[in-house]
Every structure is written in C-alpha cells, then in structure tokens.
Assembly symmetry: C2
Homo-oligomer: 152 residues x 2
C-alpha cells in the first residue's frame, strides 16, 4: 500500500493541520474581538464553524505529530473514514461560512456605509479571507484522505 | 472492477444529473425572471454559477442516458478524472453561491424591509433553496466518481 502524502499520520498532513488551526483561530479572533459580530447571522455562523474547526484540527495535528515522531502508520479503515468524513463536512461548513460572511460584508460596504466603519469592515474582510484559506486547507486534507480510503 | 452506483454511465448517475439540471434551471429562473437580481453581487454570482451547472449537468445526463441505453461502460481514468474534478469544482461554486444568496436574503429581510417586498423575497428564498438542493446532488455525483477513481 503506497503512502499518500497529506494523508493521516504524515508530516504533510501535520503541516496542513497546523495551518488549519492557525488560520481558523485568526479568523475567529478577527471576527470576535472588539467587534459586534452577533448582530449578523452570517458572522455568528462563522464564529460557530471556526469554533468547531479549531479543536478538530488541533486534535488531528497532535495525532499527526505523534505519528511522525513515533513512526506509526494510521491505516485503519474506520479511523480514516471518520477523519475523512469529518474533514468533508467541515470543509463544506467553512466554505459556507466564508461565503456568507463575504457576501454580507459586500452588502454592508455597498449599501450601508454608516453600518460598517472602515476599521470594522477591514477586520471583517480579514476574517473572511482567513476563513477561505482555512476552507482550502481542510478541503485538501479531506481530498488526500478520501483518495487513500478506497485502497484500504 | 466493481460497478459503483452513481458513478459515470450508470442509471443512478443519470437520475442525479437530471435532478441537477432541473434544480439548477429552477434556481436560475426563480432568480432571474422579473426580479432585479443584478443589484446584488451574490445574486449575479448565483445566476452565473447556475448558468455553468446547467450545460455541464445536461451534457453528462445525455452521456449517461446514452451509456445506459447502449450498455457501454465509461471506465477511462482520464474521462473520470475530468468529470470528477469538474463536479468537485462546481459543487464548491454552487455551495458558495447558495450560501451567499441565503445570507444576503437574510440580511435584506431583517435590516431592509423596504428593499425586499415579500413577493420578491419568497422568490429569492425559493431560488436559494433550489441552489442548495443542486449543490447536494452535484456533491453526491462528485463523491461517487471520486470513490471509483483510485481503483482505476
């Protein structure tokens, strides 16, 4: 059985998970610190989803780090199925959150200049960008694990 | 090589493609007929994406129908890779469009009652729902084809 780079237990996967943790934390912090995010459904949804991605990615980063150091291989079909499905669901959720946030920001900027002071708006935009990067990394993890799955 | 139900050239795939064509057309029509959709970026984006999904799904529905009637099997790795990647990209695009539209509608309903008469708003909402169903079907097609791919 060949080793797919980026699948569970490899150093590439560890980097992906670290990236996910960093970018989802950044997105959460930009959105929630000092900004009235709870006025908008889409922003609350982004905060909720990022709050799900952070523990998931952090746990899997720990597992990957352990496997890289000890040298174990995680090739059980059940584990890989759960991880792959979790990544799959989270990638859709984070894309949905990022898109909702981006479209709401766009509407706020165009239609309601007074509702969106430039300081807040740039923070919202940064948060949405981080969420997009986070989605991309989660989708990559999902794809790598899904690729390995049928060969087990 | 086992036959994965829902992969290219099966009757399940034909049903999925028909569903995608119907729901994406419905979403496009609800959004574009008699409504000023071009005022909002998210709505224009939805119309663009649905305009991409319709020809893609319709063409593949024709291919699937032909294969079901004639009894051919499409198991070339290249073709399956292209179809699978196309579905993958379109599923992300249609999810993004559906979420953007839904969040903009939500904002319009809550904050700007006068901008969104109930007749228009219900049509926007119907369009977004159709787009979500369309996303679900495209993602299912993508998953089935991707599942078959590594075994070729």
């Amino acid at each position: 059985m060949e080793k797919v780079p980026g699948s569970l237990g490899t150093s590439a996967s560890f980097s992906l998970r670290l990236g996910q943790t960093v970018f989802s934390s950044a997105s959460l912090l930009f959105m929630s610190l000092g900004v009235e995010f709870y006025s908008y459904t889409a922003f609350c949804y982004l905060v909720t989803v990022m709050g799900l991605v952070i523990p998931w990615s952090f746990t899997l980063a720990l597992v990957d780090g352990y496997c890289v150091i000890v040298g174990c291989t995680l090739r059980q079909r059940g584990i890989l199925l759960i991880v792959s499905m979790g990544d799959w669901v989270l990638s859709f959720l984070s894309l949905a959150a990022a898109c909702s946030t981006a479209s709401v920001i766009d509407l706020l900027v165009v239609f309601q200049g007074s509702y969106c002071p430039s300081k807040f708006c740039s923070r919202y935009q940064l948060s949405a960008s981080m969420a997009f990067i986070c989605w991309f990394l989660v989708a990559a993890s999902s794809l790598f694990n899904l690729w390995l799955l049928p060969s087990l």
